[in-house]
């Protein structure tokens, strides 16, 4: 598949995301925030970082970047979109995913290897994992506390849209230990931890994160 990785001003993890895409056997395509063009890709990744310096609110300005018009359109047509960390914040600001991410409850930046349980393996980005799989990937964020009102949380839980949950203690105050969620179609996934930093044994906590990128191969959600 051709997988686009968007670079915003202030993106940090676009290169690692690109590398993860290639290691998973896909062709990576660099996408630029200022272009109204997805260059014919089959899937899009919004990488981590501090786009626009996190000014105003994390992801608030990126949401109005020219490329996001195309990303939001394509997501509505079923194209797989994965937002990691800052990308997750952008997806929430874009209303492609419900809720919001606020400052960690303990007010400190957290950077550590994090165990997760995958509670939904039917999404375009998690189908390579077995249900309930426990993985360890990198977590690094200052504003990673997932919040939503009770009806939204009830809906996410009721529809099985919580994709990943933190294990071994909640690192940032996220409600229901939520580390990642999906839209109702399962093509859009937002994730606070970083699977793209865990795709090779040489560095990082292992290769547990690779499944997010290989999932696209066996995904049931086809790109339009």
């Amino acid at each position: 598949m051709r997988v686009g990785v968007v670079t915003f001003p202030g993106s940090l993890d676009d290169v690692d995301a690109t590398r993860a895409v290639r290691i998973a056997g896909h062709e990576s395509v660099a996408l630029w925030h200022g272009d109204h063009d997805l260059r014919g890709v089959d899937a899009v990744i919004l990488p981590g970082g501090f786009s626009y310096g996190d000014y105003l609110r994390c992801g608030a300005i990126s949401r109005f970047a020219p490329v996001m018009t195309e990303v939001i359109d394509a997501a509505g047509r079923g194209m797989p979109v994965l937002g990691i960390c800052n990308g997750f914040q952008i997806l929430c600001e874009s209303h492609l995913l419900p809720g919001a991410l606020i400052r960690n409850d303990h007010r400190r930046f957290v950077c550590r290897d994090q165990r997760l349980r995958l509670d939904n393996t039917d999404t375009a980005w998690t189908s390579a994992y077995s249900p309930g799989a426990e993985i360890t990937v990198v977590l690094k964020n200052g504003e990673g506390s997932y919040v939503a009102d009770q009806p939204t949380l009830d809906r996410l839980e009721g529809e099985g849209r919580v994709v990943a949950r933190y294990l071994d203690g909640n690192p940032n105050g996220s409600l229901h230990d939520i580390a990642g969620i999906a839209n109702d179609e399962g093509n859009v996934v937002g994730l606070m931890p970083h699977p793209e930093h865990a795709v090779e044994d040489l560095c990082g906590p292992g290769a547990d994160g690779l499944g997010f990128f290989t999932s696209l191969l066996e995904s049931r959600v086809g790109a339009s």
Binding site: A60, I102, H106, V147
Partner: protein, 90 residues
């Protein structure tokens, strides 16, 4: 302002700092943002409506924040602001 039901870690940090500085009796602090939008002359009603739409779409995130829009008189161009008197807080 962050909605009441949303945890405000920054407000909590300020709340924790106040007693350390000898300020007592404050039971809660919440921290928000204020935007000053300057326009020329008397604003037409549609301008206020537009400001509300700005607040809704960009300036605030209605999922976690409440906002209100109010009209205040400008103090005039910055260079004509009175100089603060030395030794007082402007």
């Amino acid at each position: 302002m962050p909605k009441r039901e949303i945890l405000d870690p920054q407000g909590k940090a300020v709340l924790g700092a106040l007693p350390r500085l000898g300020f007592f009796g404050v039971t809660d602090v919440r921290q928000g943002k204020r935007f000053e939008l300057e326009i020329e002359g008397e604003p037409p009603e549609e301008m206020l409506e537009q400001a509300r739409r700005m607040a809704e779409t960009l300036l605030s995130n209605p999922v976690i924040e409440d906002f209100h829009v109010s009209l205040v008189d400008s103090v005039g161009p910055v260079e004509r602001r009175p100089e603060p008197v030395e030794g007082t807080t402007p």
